[in-house]
C-alpha cells in the first residue's frame, strides 16, 4: 500500500503527455499582428541550482546540508510549463553520519512575469531514493512546491533565487517508524532558455 502513492504520482504526471497534440496544425496565415513574448508555447529551458537544505522537523538531529538540482521545463502556454527535476542532497546528522536523498520529480509550473522579472511557481511530485549508513528507502514519495524570482538577463539566460519545500515521508508497515521528513531549501539558480 505504501508504494501506491509514488506509483500513482508517476502515472498521473506522465498522463498529460498521452493527450498532448503533436499533429500538424494545418495551414496558417499571418494576420499582420505580432505580439512578442519572451516565453511562448514550445519554448524550453534547463535550470541548474545550488542550494542550502534546511531540515524543519528533526529537532536538531539533522544539520543544515546542501543540494544541487537540474531541471527542465517546456512551456505549454506563455505562462504555464511542465517538466521535471532531479536533485541530490545531503544532511549531516548529530551522530556524525550523513543522510542522502535523490528526489526525481515531475512538475507543473505557472510563471507570471513583470518587465524582466519572472516568478515561477511550481508543484512537483515524484519518487525519492534515501540512504543513511547502509540503510536504503526506495521508493519514497516526495512532494515539492517551489517558488522563485528570476531576472531575464537575455533571451537565453536568466538568473535568480528560489526556495523549495520538500515533503519526503517514510511509511512502514509498523507505523511507529512513520515520519514526515520536511525540508526547506534556499537556492541560487541559472536558467538557459532555448
Amino acid at each position: 500500500m505504501k508504494r501506491i502513492l509514488p506509483l500513482l504520482c508517476i502515472f498521473l504526471l506522465c498522463l498529460p503527455a498521452a493527450f498532448a497534440d503533436d499533429s500538424d496544425q494545418g495551414d496558417t496565415y499571418d494576420d499582420g499582428v505580432f505580439e512578442y513574448k519572451r516565453n511562448s508555447p514550445g519554448d524550453q529551458y534547463m535550470q541548474i541550482s545550488l542550494m542550502a537544505n534546511i531540515p524543519l522537523n528533526f529537532e536538531g538531529q539533522l544539520y543544515t546540508g546542501g543540494a544541487a538540482q537540474l531541471g527542465y521545463r517546456r512551456f505549454l502556454t506563455s505562462w504555464m510549463a511542465v517538466g521535471g527535476d532531479v536533485m541530490v542532497g545531503y544532511n549531516p546528522t548529530l551522530g556524525s553520519n550523513i543522510f542522502n536523498f535523490w528526489p526525481l520529480t515531475a512538475c507543473v509550473m505557472f510563471q507570471p512575469t513583470l518587465w524582466r522579472f519572472e516568478f515561477p511557481i511550481s508543484l512537483g511530485a515524484g519518487i525519492a531514493f534515501e540512504t543513511y549508513q547502509s540503510r536504503k528507502y526506495f521508493p519514497g514519495l516526495v512532494v515539492k512546491p517551489e517558488i522563485g524570482v528570476f531576472y531575464r538577463f537575455s533571451d537565453s539566460w536568466s538568473f535568480g533565487i528560489g526556495s523549495d519545500f520538500l515533503w519526503m515521508p517514510e511509511w512502514y508497515s509498523d507505523s511507529k517508524y512513520n515520519y514526515d521528513g520536511l525540508f526547506m531549501t534556499a537556492s541560487i539558480s541559472a536558467r538557459y532558455h532555448f
Binding site: 505504501k2 504526471l13 506522465c14 556524525s96 534515501e130 549508513q133 547502509s134 540503510r135 512502514y172 511507529k176
Partner: protein, 382 residues
C-alpha cells in the same frame, strides 16, 4: 480523444519505471534511526582495539584493552572516565627522526588467564628501499600485575593470542597460536600443543560440562555464563548459568560468516541460523539479546530467549545501530555481565573501518572504543 505515438511511449515508459520501482523497493528505517542518534563524546581510547579482555588485577576485576598501548579500568566502572595506562616494562612506539629509527613496541593483541595478562607486540623498522615502515619482529609478553616481561619472539604475521575470557576467573585460559599450533600459556612458560586445535584457531570457548576448552577458527564466540557460573567439575551438576535446577541453561555461541551457531555443548553445534547479513566477527551476550559485530556493517542484534537466539535480526532497544552502523567493523565486543539485559549491561565495542573517510562516510574520530552504560542509556565513544 486520440492517444498519439508520443503518448503511448510516455505511458509505456511510466509503466516500466513503475514496475521497476515496485520490484526493487526497500524500506529500511531511516528517520527513526536518525532521531535515535546522540551527541558524541570526545574519545578517550582512539585507534584500532583488537581485544577487550577480563583480568583480575590486585583482586579487582578489570577490563584491559590495547590500541598500541595497554589500558585498563575497573570492570564495574559504569561511566565514561579516564583509563589507566599499563605499560610498565614496555615503551610505546615512537619515531626518532634524527636517528631514523623506530623505538618501542606496538601492542596488537591481549589475552588473560586467571593469573597473568599476555600481550603480543610488534617492533618496526624503516625499509629505506621501499619507503615503508615494516614489522621487524613480534614478541610475546606476560604481565604479572606489576610489570611486563618478554616471553619469546614469535613468527611475525602468523601468531596471535586469545583466551576463554570467562566472567569467572577460575576458567580463564590463554593461548598462543603460531604456524606450529596452539599452545597454552602459563606466565613465562609456553606449554605443549593444545589438543583439538588447528593452526588457524583464533578463539576458544571453555565448556562447563566437561571442563575442556574448544577452539574455533572464527573470531566471534560467546557464552551466556556469568561470574558465579561454575563447571561440573566443581560440583555443579545442574549446569545452568546460576547453578540452580531449572535455571537458564548454559549456551555457547559462535559465528561463521553470517551464520550464528548455538549449543549447550561447546563440543558440538548442530543448530544455527543464517542471518543474511555481513560476516559476523564479534559478539556480546546479554540475558535478552545477543549483539553481533560485523565486518563493515556495524552492530546487529538477535533476541536471546533463555539462551536460544532469535532466527533473524531485530531492532535494538538502544541507539546501537545509529551509533555504529555501516561502514564500521566491530573488531571486539564484551558484555561485562552477561546476566544483565541489553539496556542494563555495561558493554564495550571497538570500531574501525577500511578505506577512506570520504569514500565510506566513516569518521576517523569514531575509530576506537565505544561503550554502553545503563546510567547513560546510550552507546557512545568511550
Amino acid at each position: 480523444m486520440k492517444i498519439n505515438k508520443t503518448g503511448k511511449t510516455a505511458v509505456l515508459t511510466s509503466l516500466l519505471i513503475s514496475t521497476a520501482v515496485f520490484f526493487t523497493g526497500c524500506q529500511d528505517v531511516i528517520y527513526a534511526k536518525i532521531m535515535n542518534e546522540v551527541t558524541l563524546d570526545d574519545a578517550t581510547i582512539s585507534g584500532s582495539v583488537n581485544s577487550i579482555v577480563r583480568y583480575t588485577l590486585n583482586s579487582t576485576e578489570c577490563i584491559f584493552i590495547e590500541n598500541g598501548n595497554v589500558y585498563y579500568k575497573a570492570a564495574l566502572s559504569s561511566s565514561h572516565e579516564t583509563w589507566n595506562e599499563c605499560m610498565s616494562g614496555l615503551s610505546s612506539v615512537s619515531y626518532d627522526y634524527y636517528g631514523k629509527a623506530f623505538n618501542g613496541t606496538q601492542i596488537i593483541k591481549l589475552a588473560a588467564d586467571d593469573t597473568y595478562l599476555y600481550a603480543l607486540g610488534i617492533t618496526y623498522t624503516e625499509d629505506e628501499d621501499e619507503g615503508d615502515n615494516v614489522a621487524e619482529a613480534e614478541y610475546l609478553y606476560y604481565y604479572d600485575g606489576s610489570t611486563w616481561t618478554q616471553v619469546q619472539s614469535v613468527t611475525a604475521g602468523a601468531a596471535t593470542i586469545f583466551c576463554t575470557n570467562t566472567p569467572n576467573p577460575d576458567y580463564r585460559k590463554a593461548y598462543l597460536r603460531t604456524s606450529s599450533g596452539v599452545f597454552l600459556l602459563d606466565g613465562s612458560t609456553v606449554g605443549s600443543t593444545a589438543t583439538n586445535s588447528s593452526t588457524s584457531a583464533c578463539s576458544a570457548i571453555y565448556n562447563y560440562s566437561d571442563s575442556i576448552v574448544y577452539f574455533f577458527d572464527e573470531w566471534a564466540t560467546g557464552c551466556n555464563a556469568k561470574e558465579s557460573t561454575t563447571s561440573s567439575s566443581d560440583g555443579n551438576s545442574s549446569l545452568t548459568i546460576d547453578n540452580t535446577s531449572g535455571g537458564t541453561p548454559i549456551y555457547y555461541y559462535y559465528a561463521s560468516g553470517d551464520n550464528l551457531y548455538y549449543s549447550t555443548d561447546a563440543s558440538s553445534f548442530s543448530s544455527s541460523y543464517d542471518l543474511d547479513m555481513t560476516s559476523i566477527i564479534s559478539m556480546a551476550v546479554t540475558s535478552n539479546a545477543i549483539l553481533l559485530g560485523t565486518n563493515g556493517s556495524g552492530l546487529y542484534k538477535v533476541s536471546n530467549s533463555d539462551g536460544i537466539p532469535g532466527s533473524s535480526t531485530e531492532d535494538f532497544d538502544t541507539n546501537a545501530d545509529s551509533a555504529l552502523g555501516s561502514p564500521y567493523r566491530i573488531l571486539a565486543m564484551l558484555c561485562v555481565d552477561p546476566s544483565q539485559t541489553e539496556t542494563g549491561a555495561i558493554m564495550y565495542a571497538s570500531a574501525d573501518f577500511s578505506g577512506t573517510s570520504s569514500s565510506t562516510t566513516g569518521d576517523y574520530d569514531d575509530i576506537g572504543l565505544w561503550s554502553y552504560y545503563p546510567g547513560r542509556g546510550n552507546w557512545n565513544r568511550e
